[in-house]
Symmetry: none
Subunit: 140 residues, 2 copies
């Protein structure tokens, strides 16, 4: 990626894009910015470049970075666009069967089931939670 910066350095363009999302509400006030690692992936930029971009936002006072926690969008400037992006997040884990599930599967209560959970969000709001339970493959 040789970079074709049209007059502007990359970190400035990235800062512009993040500022746009914040102003448009797609990154809600008071929420945490995606971590540097995510931004690195999304913008296909190095961490240093991302950090420069965030430093700009900090200077402008619209972001606050806390060591070990993340970068938070400032809370001021009320009301604007409702967020529309749908975010999916999947969690996979093993859970013990409760009475209801045990009855359906025909297994003992407390037996291990594999649960896949998908949380669908629109902006900050949770739209739905879908859980799929299966019996584990060849193991308790």
């Amino acid at each position: 990626m040789p970079t074709s910066h049209y007059g502007q350095p990359r970190y400035r363009l990235i800062a512009d894009e993040l500022r746009r999302r914040i102003e448009a509400g797609s990154i809600p006030r008071g929420s945490l910015l995606p971590p540097e690692s995510s931004l690195t992936a999304e913008f296909n930029a190095s961490r240093g470049t991302i950090r420069q971009a965030i430093a700009l936002l900090r200077h402008e006072g619209i972001a606050i970075t806390e060591h070990g926690r993340g970068t938070q969008v400032a809370a001021f400037l009320p009301g604007e666009e409702p967020p529309r992006s749908i975010d999916l997040e999947r969690i996979h884990r093993e859970v013990p069967a409760d009475a209801e599930l045990a009855a359906i599967f025909g297994i003992n209560i407390g037996a291990t089931l594999v649960r896949d959970e998908a949380v669908a969000r629109e902006g900050a709001e949770v739209e739905s939670v879908t859980r799929t339970y299966r019996r584990p493959r060849g193991g308790p």
Copy 2:
């Protein structure tokens, strides 16, 4: 030690080794990977490098990481297909939110949620139970 580039960066080599162990079964499906601290010691690499390696496995869909818990090997590796569902049965009802769901939705424990349940059977055996929770439309 910047890069000892013997063709590949270290995090990729480490990811290769972990993938090999998973496919060979020496790290079983559904089990937890050794913690980052152990891998750091074993591979004599920094934590960041280990995390990069694990991120690769996550991206490939063969590992799922949960905060505070660990990194779990997927129950099904991409490419191996779980058995297909045949019989489907749907149940719709209203249920009170337990603590976990309440936390996800950001509502009070006991608040009403709508639950759609689909039981997939293959012959007599239950293959999977899928439950989707949503907030009621305009209701309590």
